[in-house]
């Protein structure tokens, strides 16, 4: 039982981190109807900004803020500079171009900062709190889970309760109609990219310290798991990303603990296949009366 509780809590902590990253993917899907394959590399780049600012000022929070700002800026640049010019013709184009962005970013980061892993400091202890002799969540895990919950709430409000959120969704679902109704579709698209890249940047700053450290490839596997999470939860659903993240995190942890590490990635794949077969649009997808 102790072992189970430990596995459960460490799975939840990792799942929370998958959830934030998946959320960034969901955001861009909602705004632009594309899966941003450059999300991981963009977030790695902005984490270097956080690292540099924290190193220069000694303040974690300034670093975090700088990363989020840099993320927004990078999102803007990638959308206006690259994606805008290719996305229209075929969905494959944006996938290929995003992979190109990944290669460029990772190469530039490697040239500028080297390929070594750099440990990052965090403001809270990563040592778990012991409850009844079982190591459960650490203060840092609690901080991550709290931050994710607040972010989810804020984004939920943005999309469902504000005019901007409504316009963003409208621009993504039915660009032509929205344009006729006076929605500045192209600006909404840019806003979506900016927002998503900022969330991705935030997520990476939370996650990277819990893994091997900062490296141009630090977000590679994270992106793969987050992509799975987003598909499992439903690309359209922020709540799905959150729940999917926790499910995948706990699944990885339990399978590793009881069946062995080699089976863990396979278990995640099986989950993905089952969800795609049973509910292809994801567990939390909204029912669609007709397709756009």
């Amino acid at each position: 039982m102790d072992h189970f509780l430990h596995l459960l809590s460490s799975g939840l902590a990792r799942g929370a981190v998958f959830a934030v990253f998946a959320l960034a993917l969901v955001l861009i899907w909602r705004a632009a109807r594309i899966v941003n394959f450059a999300q991981g590399a963009m977030a790695a780049a902005t984490t270097y900004v956080a690292f540099a600012v924290t190193a220069a000022t000694g303040n974690y929070w300034l670093g975090l803020a700088a990363a989020v700002l840099a993320g927004a800026l990078l999102g803007l640049v990638v959308e206006r500079g690259v994606m805008r010019h290719v996305a229209r013709q075929s969905p494959l184009n944006s996938v290929i171009v995003a992979l190109g962005v990944v290669m460029v970013l990772q190469a530039v980061l490697g040239i500028a900062f080297g390929n070594d892993y750099t440990p990052m400091r965090v403001p809270f202890s990563m040592e778990p709190l012991w409850v009844g002799g079982v190591p459960l969540l650490s203060p840092y895990d609690l901080y991550v889970i709290g931050a994710v919950a607040m972010l989810l709430l804020a984004l939920g409000l943005l999309f469902t309760r504000t005019a901007v959120g409504l316009r963003m969704r409208a621009a993504a679902f039915a660009p032509e109609t929205s344009r006729l109704l006076g929605v500045p579709v192209s600006r909404m698209l840019t806003l979506g990219w900016t927002l998503s890249a900022a969330v991705g940047a935030f997520a990476a700053v939370l996650v990277i310290p819990t893994e091997l450290g900062l490296n141009p490839h630090a977000t590679d596997t994270l992106f793969v798991y987050a992509f799975t999470v987003a598909i499992v939860g439903g690309l359209d659903s922020p709540v799905g990303a959150a729940v999917g993240g926790l499910v995948v995190g706990v699944l990885l942890s339990l399978v590793t603990g009881y069946l062995g590490s080699t089976l863990a990635p396979i278990a995640v794949l099986v989950l993905l296949v089952v969800v795609l077969l049973v509910r292809p649009a994801g567990i939390f997808s909204a029912r669609q009366v007709r397709q756009a």
Partner: protein
């Protein structure tokens, strides 16, 4: 756009990414006949009166570049030093390093380029069990000397199967047997366990441990996969099993992760790590300010210690690193890269005035090479592995130093024996002559 279109698009992109290197290697295949036969009267490929060209594949970019990219730079620096001092038999050595990103598909295409287009004399220190396994047959067919592969897998020590291939690193099995013997002597009666990577490294290391500790010598055997950088479940299980002495068959990053995770769980067992994941400089870099957790960390090595202030080899290599490698960080990788360069130069010097491919292989298997290790070279007519023994290292006060006497170990289930011959001494400023 609907989901199925995206899924199809992604699948198409994936297939395209897989096909590109495959096609590249197919097109290279069609020109196989360009390679030269060994032992001809004509000069061997890559050899002129003034120069010898050798090549390699290393991960210079991608996830594996961290921790490996500095090796080929060190080898290149050693060759630059050698060339400035007249080279070998009047020829300078040119070392072509190709980036394969640790991806076996890319390894296949860059090695074909090296052999068929750049016409290298030999391949030197190709890095990684999986990438290098992908080119073994190609190198065999073309009779290209495949010298000093950067891996401790027994795959690269099969004189009958692959007579052109020679491993460099201490055999994982031999290393495990030496570390297990050390554990029996220094931590008797303790519960021993293993955390291993789920590939050849883990399997070969476990096999070595079992020959010394017995079939039920390990109370808990945990594995990890590199795709999941979280080992808390495994470490918690080891703690629960009462493990006191833990062996690590892991790469540096995961050694650091294991030690760090255990500390977070308030668990401080004795760690004994394979040399693959036991370089103090690298592991402590991952741990950052928690590097003090490595105090007492036991590992193994077979080359001069980069911490040593007195070792002649280390002193020479440190100087070469300053003069020819732009003063890059001096660590275990630097010593490793330069040691590979030295061993190749030694083999080349022994291969005679006009080296041929068969000639250098004969020199390597002659048993006359000395290397620069703390144990003697094991290369012989029946053994294609360079190092088959190690000496234990312990971290004390932030310095990783050798302790006790080295062990040599026969391949497979063979004996572990202490070696008292002392390390190989430096001669002629590290410039081999015939």
């Amino acid at each position: 756009m609907t989901r199925p279109r995206i899924v199809r698009a992604v699948a198409a992109a994936g297939v395209a990414a897989l096909l590109v290197p495959l096609l590249a290697s197919c097109s290279a295949d069609s020109t196989d006949d360009a390679s030269g036969a060994a032992g001809d009267a004509e000069p061997a490929p890559g050899v002129t009166d003034t120069e010898i060209v050798v090549g390699t594949h290393h991960p210079l970019s991608g996830p594996a570049a961290a921790g490996y990219a500095s090796i080929s730079a060190a080898t290149t620096a050693y060759f630059a030093y050698l060339n400035d001092n007249g080279g070998v038999n009047g020829r300078t050595i040119e070392y072509i390093v190709k980036d394969d990103g640790y991806n076996p598909a890319t390894t296949q295409s860059v090695v074909r380029e090296l052999v068929l287009e750049d016409r290298v004399f030999a391949l030197l220190n190709g890095l990684g069990t999986a990438p290098h396994s992908a080119v073994l047959d190609f190198l065999d067919e073309n009779e290209v000397p495949d010298l000093f592969v950067a891996s401790g897998s027994p795959v690269f020590n099969q004189p009958d199967e692959h007579p052109w291939t020679f491993g460099f690193n201490a055999d994982y099995t031999a290393e495990a047997k030496a570390l297990a013997t050390y554990a029996q002597e220094h931590f008797p009666g303790k519960t021993t366990c293993l955390l291993a990577q789920d590939d050849d490294l883990g399997e070969d290391f476990a096999a070595g441990l079992v020959t010394v500790l017995g079939e039920d010598g390990l109370a808990s055997e945990q594995v990890y996969t590199t795709s999941n950088p979280d080992v808390s479940a495994q470490v918690a299980a080891m703690k629960q099993a009462g493990c006191e002495v833990n062996f690590l068959a892991a790469i540096n990053a995961f050694s650091a992760l294991a030690v760090g995770t255990a500390a977070k769980l308030g668990y401080q067992p004795q760690w004994l790590s394979s040399s693959v994941g036991g370089d103090y400089g690298t592991v402590s870099q991952y741990l950052g300010e928690n590097a003090a957790l490595l105090e007492g960390f036991v590992s193994a090595n077979y080359l001069p210690s980069h911490f040593s202030e007195t070792d002649e080899w280390t002193t020479l290599f440190r100087q070469i690193n300053e003069d020819y490698n732009e003063g890059a960080p001096f660590d275990g990788n630097t010593v490793y890269g330069m040691s590979v360069g030295y061993l190749f130069a030694e083999a080349l010097a022994k291969a005679g005035e006009t080296p041929t491919r068969q000639g250098i292989v004969d020199a390597v298997t002659s048993g006359d090479l000395r290397g620069n290790g703390v144990v003697p070279l094991a290369l012989s007519a029946t053994n294609n592995g360079a190092y088959q023994g190690v000496q234990v290292t312990v971290v004390a006060g932030g310095v990783q130093e050798y302790v006790g006497t080295p062990y040599t170990a026969e391949p497979g289930a063979g004996e572990v024996t202490p070696y008292t011959g002392g390390p190989v001494a430096l001669e002629d400023d590290g410039i081999p002559s015939s």
